[in-house]
Symmetry: C2
Subunit: 421 residues, 2 copies
């Protein structure tokens, strides 16, 4: 059906477009749409299920130049673009021939999500979370975060005129505090580590019924936002699924949603349901999913993160097992790379394509390199790399590796000499 | 004529699309297209003149989602999108109702150029400079800069596979050095101030025939890139020119090119040639054009800059007199704002619309506020604000003004108490 579903919650009709119910990931228990994230039946994560009806390319192409063009594929109201929210998405898909050559791949595309409003893919998920939260009657947008999510949540709330509550560890770098504080929400520094902050968020979500913690109580909606990466890549390739895609793994949610997005496009007949392989990228200092993959396990053993790729540093990734499912089903692979390789990955992308990514992007590029070297990525297959965040936010990672080629007196002769002319 | 012009330079046919010659701004002396920036006849700046022929909206709308959709209006080869370059442009035009309300304006749009590849409008001008430079046979892309231009030049050269030479004052902040150095061009720190660096660039441009200094010897082409801001605003409004636009002034080039862009669209029948007013924004600590405007002068007295808005801190703005012409002709005005007001402007935009701009954007927002208060901006007229750069690059400007609302122990009770619940 293409008309919006009507559900009832607290005497209000809920319009979340094509979303019809929540389904538990383990045993498939179904329940009405609500701001809940864990099944009380089997304690597994809840995921949004849809009744898409007929969706046509023309409808999407006639939509706005942001993720709301895919509103008929997302758990958002049918009038979502009429309410204040950020308008992320429709970021560049860059043909990366110089990078391809260095990697030894025939054709590479970089999905450059640094072009989003706060320069990471988190704007996508937060925008969907805000739209759903509004529909459920929430009044405050909240999150625990150490970086990109804090920026995205505070910015989206500001634009919507909502109050935000963003919880960060007190020890966070000053730059990350500033880039959140500027939006003037309620930024709270917590005297504890990120685990403390996360625990606090779950507690607060239970106590404050008007607070939507984007990655806690409205997580099923939030995480669907990552599907838009798959939709955009396919549309930008001319309605076609790439043969290979490399995705960084933090909680693992993004990778599973990219796969979900590709599958939906095929099922809806928006693209040919051609085979594709999904590859996962982790930093060795936080590689629980890569380790499980290597050992052939289907459970993921938690680790204590120690890597410069802090936006990927989730030691106990909630969607780890589902990542393994996707990678194994599609015939992909998972690899991890050292912090030195991460820095090399950042520099390689910058020097070949003029794109400056954060550490997570360095993980993706360096992992792609390793996957080619180990024969897991097919050099002749078309490959997409997801670059999900901006180098301006993780300057410390490259600080000791780069700088001016020379310092010279103000004379043309000195410059020419320094450059070997 | 719609076919590209053929000119001859160094035995090579030059294809710069609709560009036909260079014209001196003062006395209108014409000369062939060449990498020159000052008329030898009247010593005034040279500007590109065109023979556009017939340009249709449909041709533009069918083009790529970047500035090359306007290639028939720019001094670039007709096949420009086939050669490696950055693909800036098509950034968001955001309806800013919450900002409008605070400013006391009925309808405001923010052109958010932080979405460009290196997060400022400089990607537009550098992309055009690179395209023209390639056509003229240059092999190195160069510039003197203290920030945004350095990022854009180094990134564009990297993507094109060109060598870059970027000259910066040795004393530049470490963050700005890193965001340029990462692209791995020839970044040279000069033991001198920005004036020394600038002088050096002119000297080097004369000595190295293969070096295109984007803002020196190929400046006439480079500066045309700013016209794309006007084209995009008009197209995004549904092929319509806004009644009022507020533009920051550094050299003044951007403001004059936005005006040029609007005029061209009207002359070509791509929009109704409706009246519009162009307003200029400066920081009081570097306000030579605003001062001249206030005093009714038509020459601009140079000043020694002293403002946090460093990307606008050009004390002797080359296009100052032409800015005065545009503002007076269209019935606009120019104002300047203190550094305190600049910070307030940054914070106002962030808190109302979730957009974090650099100091130049703060100048634009704060000036708009002042122009409303002094009755110069019509509150009932539709107004566009050009936000040309990113707050992530000027964190030091807000550093002492913002921070967490509270620091609390890791307990839900403490958070609720800190927030007044």
């Amino acid at each position: 059906m293409t008309a919006a579903l009507s559900a009832t919650s607290a005497n209000k009709t809920i319009d979340l477009g094509p979303a019809v119910e929540l389904v538990s990931k383990e045993e498939g228990h179904r329940q009405p749409l609500a701001p809940e994230f864990v099944s009380v039946e089997d304690f597994s994560p809840l995921e949004v299920a849809y009744d898409f009806g007929h969706v046509r390319r023309e409808d999407i192409e006639a939509g706005p130049r942001n993720i709301w063009r895919y509103k008929k594929l997302l758990p958002v109201p049918s009038t979502v673009e009429e309410t204040p929210n950020t308008e992320p998405g429709c970021t560049r898909l860059v043909r990366a021939d110089r990078l391809a050559k260095e990697l030894g791949l025939k054709r590479v595309w970089v999905k450059d999500d640094t072009g989003n409003p706060t320069h990471s893919f988190k704007d996508r998920v937060v925008a969907v979370a805000l739209a759903a939260a509004r529909e459920f009657g929430f009044e405050v947008l909240a999150c625990p975060s150490t970086g990109n999510l804090a920026n995205a949540t505070a910015a989206a709330a500001a634009r919507a005129g909502w109050r935000s509550v963003v919880l960060i560890p007190k020890s966070l770098e000053r730059a990350k505090i500033l880039t959140t504080a500027v939006y003037d929400g309620d930024l709270i520094a917590v005297d504890g580590n990120y685990d403390d902050v996360n625990r606090l968020a779950t507690e607060l979500a239970a106590e404050h019924p008007k607070w939507a913690f984007v990655n806690v109580n409205v997580r099923p909606y939030y995480s669907e936002g990552s599907k838009t990466l798959a939709y955009e890549v396919a549309e930008q390739l001319g309605w076609r699924i790439p043969e290979q895609i490399v995705v960084p793994i933090a909680s693992g949610s993004q990778l599973t949603k990219v796969d979900k997005g590709f599958r939906e496009l095929g099922q809806l007949g928006l693209v040919d349901a051609s085979p594709y392989k999904v590859f996962g990228a982790q930093a060795t200092g936080c590689s629980p999913v890569s380790t499980a993959y290597r050992n052939g396990h289907d459970v993921v053993q938690p680790v204590k993160p120690d890597t410069i790729a802090r936006s990927l540093a989730i030691g106990n990734p909630a969607d780890g097992p589902y990542v393994l499912d996707v990678v194994n089903r599609t015939g992909g692979a998972i690899e991890d790379v050292t912090d030195e390789e991460v820095v090399e990955g950042i520099r390689l992308l910058a020097r070949t394509e003029g794109i400056f990514t954060e550490t997570a992007g360095g993980v993706t590029v360096a992992t792609a390199k390793k996957l080619v070297e180990t024969g897991k990525l097919d050099p002749d297959a078309e490959t997409v790399l997801l670059i999900t965040g901006d180098g301006l936010k993780t300057l410390d990672a490259v600080e000791n590796h780069i700088g001016p080629k020379a310092t010279v007196p103000p004379s043309a002769e000195a410059v020419a000499k320094a450059l070997g002319y």
